[in-house]
Symmetry: C2
Subunit: 227 residues, 2 copies
DNA sequence: ATGAGTCCTTGATTCAAATCAAGCCGCTCC
DNA sequence: GGAGCGGCTTGATTTGAATCAAGGACTCAT
C-alpha cells in the first residue's frame, strides 16, 4: 500500500493541494497492523492522526469491569484519532485492527505544525470534525431515545440507503449489536420479530430485504410496538 | 449586555486578535431571549453560531413519541450551534432559553466567510470542536458502560472538581437526572443509597458533601454495587 | 471424518430501571 | 389564610433487555 494513494483516497485529505500535500507526505509514516493488533490503548499518549488505506479498525471503550462498547468501525478512506490529535488529549479509546490493515500515520507534533501553517487543511479538518460530532450526536440520540426495535429499524434504513431495499449486513451480527448497545441475543430476536411481522424478509443469499420502508420508519420513530 | 464583552468572555473567541475581532463584531447580532423561548427547532436551517453572554440555554433532542434528552446546558462563556454552522447541517437539536438569556449570533454565511479568511479563528474553532466531540464521547461512554449508580457517582466527582468536597447541584434534579439518561425517581433513590452508604452526606444548606472520593470513584468504575 | 471453536438462534429466567402511585414540602397567587 | 402547583422522595409494580442455557450451522485444523 502506497502513502500517496492513501492520502488521495481519504475524504478528509483528498482536496489538499500541492505544497501541503508534499508536506504531509513528507511526515507520513506507513504502518501495517496484522489482524488483531491493538494499535493504541485508552489513556495512552496519542501518536497522531491515522488514515486507513486498507483493512478495518475498530475503535471502542472498555469499562473497568470489562464491558466493551464499539464507538465506530473505521473503513478505508476514513481516519481515526483525529480528535485526540487536534484537541491534544490522550487517546480516549482503544483502537484495534480487525483485519490486516494498512495505515498512514501523521505524527502528532508534525501534524500540529502543518495545521498551524496550512489554512486549507484547517478548513478541511473543521468539516471532518463537525461530521464526527454529528455521528456521536446521532449515537446518543439513538441510544437514549429509541428502544431495541427502533435502533435496529433505524440501522436497517441507513444500511439500505445505497443499495435500494437489499441490505447485506456489514460485519458480524454480534458487532453490529454491540454498536447499537444491544446484546447479540436481543439483536437476533428483534430481527426475527421484524421478519415475522412482514417488515423485513430474508433473501436466498443470506441478505435481508426491506419489505415496508414506511413501517420500518414508524418503528424507528417509536410509534406502535411490534409485539 | 454588550457584544464586545460577550465575545471577549467566550472561551472560543477570547484569543482572537484585532483585525478578526472587529470583523466578527461587525457581523454579530445581539439577541435577547426571555425565559422559556424556543431559540430553534430540530431540523430547521441553522441561523449561525451563538455565544451565550448571560442566562442559560438547554440543547436537547425529542423523539417522535415526545421523550426528551438533554444534550448539554450552555452557560455564559460557552457557545452552541457551532457544529451545525461549521458542518453546514440543519439544526440537529432544539435549543431553549431556560432563563432570560443574552446571546450574540454570528450569522451562518458571514461566519463561514470569516472562517475562510482567518486562520487563527480556524485553529481556535478546531480546538473547540475537538472538545465538543470529547464531551459526547464521555456521554456515550457514561450511558453505555455505567449503571445508574456509576453515572451519578461520576457526575458527583466532576461537579465537585472545583469546590473541594462540597457539591451544590446545578439546576433542578429532574434536569440533571435527564442529562444522565435517568428518571428523577431513580436519581433520587440513587442519591439516597449513596448517602445511606456513607459515601455522600447532606449539609445544612441543602448541598452535598463527598465523604469518600475513593469509594465514589470505585462506584463510578462499576466495582462492587452498593445494595 | 472428527473434534474444537466461532457465530447465531431460541427459550427460560433474572434484574435494573421505568412507570405508576401517593404523600410531602415549599412556592405563588388570589 | 388556603387553594393550587411543581418538585422531590419513597413505595409497589411492570417491563424491556440482559443473562443464563442449550442446540445447530459453519469453519478450520488435525
Amino acid at each position: 500500500m502506497n502513502a500517496e494513494a492513501i492520502l488521495h483516497d481519504c475524504k478528509l485529505f483528498s482536496r489538499v493541494t500541492e505544497p501541503s500535500r508534499s508536506n504531509l507526505l513528507g511526515m507520513a509514516v506507513l504502518q501495517h497492523f496484522p489482524s488483531g493488533t491493538l494499535i493504541f490503548r485508552q489513556g495512552e499518549h496519542c501518536p497522531g492522526l491515522f488514515l486507513v488505506g486498507a483493512g478495518l479498525v475498530r475503535v471502542f471503550v472498555l469499562s473497568a469491569t470489562g464491558k466493551q462498547q464499539i464507538l465506530h468501525q473505521v473503513v478505508p478512506g476514513d481516519t481515526f484519532a483525529e480528535v485526540a490529535t487536534i484537541g491534544q488529549f490522550d487517546c480516549p479509546a482503544f483502537a484495534e485492527a480487525v483485519l490486516d490493515t494498512d495505515c498512514l500515520l501523521l505524527p502528532n507534533h508534525l501534524f500540529q505544525h502543518a495545521l498551524r501553517e496550512d489554512h486549507q487543511l484547517c478548513l478541511q479538518l473543521l468539516g471532518g470534525l463537525a461530521g464526527r460530532v454529528h455521528h456521536f450526536f446521532e449515537l446518543v440520540e439513538d441510544i437514549t431515545l429509541r428502544d431495541a426495535a427502533g435502533r435496529v429499524a433505524r440501522f436497517m434504513l441507513n444500511a439500505a440507503d445505497d443499495n435500494g431495499d437489499r441490505v447485506l449486513l456489514p460485519g458480524l451480527k454480534k458487532d453490529l449489536a454491540n454498536q447499537l448497545n444491544l446484546t447479540s441475543e436481543t439483536f437476533s430476536r428483534t430481527l426475527r420479530r421484524l421478519i415475522d411481522a412482514g417488515i423485513l424478509a430474508t433473501t436466498e443469499d443470506q441478505a435481508l430485504r426491506i419489505v415496508s420502508r414506511q413501517r420500518l420508519q414508524q418503528i424507528s420513530d417509536g410509534l406502535f410496538p411490534i409485539f
